[in-house]
Amino acid sequence: MERQERLIYLDNAATVFPKPARVLNKMMETYQSFGVSPGRGGYDLAVEASDLVMDVREHLCGFFGSDDSERVIFAANASDALNLIIQGMIEPGCHVVSSQLEHNSVLRQLHHFQKAGIISYDLVGFDGQGCINPDDIARTIKPTTKMVIINHASNVIGTIQDAQSIGNVCREYGVPLILDVAQSAGLVPIDMHQWGVSALAFTGHKSLLGPHGIGGAVIAKDIDIRITRFGGTGVDSESLEHTPTYPHRLETGTLNFLGVVGLGEGLACVEEAGIDAVRNKEVALAQRLEKGLSEIPAVQIHGPSTWKNRLAILMISIPNMVPEDVGAILDGDYGIAVRTGLHCAPLAHEGLKTFPRGGVRFSIGPSNTSEDIDAAVSAMNEIGRNK
């Protein structure tokens, strides 16, 4: 059956699409040339593959303002990295501080370990602009608090938190700050050292422009993450103890070499385009979208009223329509792809009063144009006309 001739993709907060051709080409070329197991064999190809992986670690280390590239850990995605970090840090009886804006990648872990009687946790809320007050974090920290975990930029409303101020609070109380940069990496300059971030979790397939299936953690020298996964690392093979040194400490089995290659090339694309330039362009389009949608009486816009410290994400609803149906009409009748529902962040929607139905999220990416935005506004105008 025929599909729409042209897709207007406005679901870039889920994954940036399409990826730059040079990322895909680099992956193909590299994998065909030396797609062997990095960090294992001593033959030249394996050493070249290892060197390439190390180059990407070093690149990421500098990109995130950290100081030890061996503490750049590859994982499947940000959720996977957050599992490594949280489960490698919690101890029986400890307390965790996090926020209502978190993704289920954090919430479900905290809920699970609280239910199992291992930890307790508290969540700080957010204000009308989607901002977390660092003082609320200070008030929530207890003597048993093991870590503060904060979503740097919301995948629901795009708010970018003041990581520097939150980091200052964590420094003052001597509690490690863990930052989830799944949405912000590639759109916001991140400086772990300056902000006092002890560990961050990133994904490669969003604004770092890499493929699916690659992400990771960057761990500062002020903390250690306990080993929670065991297996082959390519070193210390004579020992039945898992390798205690980074990065092998937290990586097991053969790396996603193809993903690492794509991530490295994506990172190069991001740096060439310029983080600020990309975000400014995307936010300008989001403002255009907001202006257009705000003139449609049936459309209700949720979240911050400002675009300062915010990614190009806009969450809306039509009060008497199911969000999934709005998304289906946009897709089926107009060829516009958006994300509907709760966006894996149910408590953020609670705070926005959009729970349980959620909303319709438009998220702008590097390939979007003003024509895309005008088409989306026109479509929403028609959808909202009789509502």
Binding site: M1, E2, R3, Q4, Q100, L107, L110, H111, Q114, K115, S120, Y121, D122, L123, V124, G125, M321, V322, P323, E324, D325, A328, I329, D331, G332, D333, R339, T340, G341, L342, H343, C344, P346, L347, E350, F355, P356, R357, G358, E382, I383, N386
Partner: protein, 126 residues
């Protein structure tokens, strides 16, 4: 805000319609789509506010049923358009509850799985 205490799952329930015990999930979707019949559709549609099922409503429901029976999955949006010769917007107003809670639910398709409410957080408040 204190930590959520846990999730409360809307429990599935059984209803007897026309002498048959039919299992629904918490949102009223068929758990076993093979239990759907035209007679059950009539009952559910009337309960949803449809006084008399129109030819278009019946055609749309029969299309999604046939598609599901043949393909083992719900039709995508472009299948719906071509198969019903209607726009998605027209389908949305065809039933009370729109596409998801109208057409799809009354047509006896399973609850679509997506990033939306399947369960509710039981949030403990300050």
């Amino acid at each position: 805000m204190n930590a959520p205490e846990g999730k409360t799952i809307k429990a599935p329930y059984t209803r007897n319609i026309g002498g048959v015990n039919i299992l629904f999930n918490g949102e009223g979707f068929f758990i076993n789509p093979s239990q759907w019949t035209d007679d059950v559709f009539e009952v559910l549609a009337h309960e949803a506010g449809v006084a008399e099922i129109s030819d278009e409503q019946r055609m749309a429901v029969h299309f999604i049923r046939k598609f599901y029976d043949e393909q083992g999955k719900a039709p995508l949006n472009h299948h719906l358009k071509v198969g019903t010769n209607m726009s998605i917007a027209q389908l949305e107003v065809l039933f009370p509850g729109g596409i998801k809670y109208g057409l799809r639910r009354l047509g006896g398709l399973p609850d679509p799985k997506g990033c939306r409410k399947a369960v509710g957080w039981n949030v403990k408040r300050d």
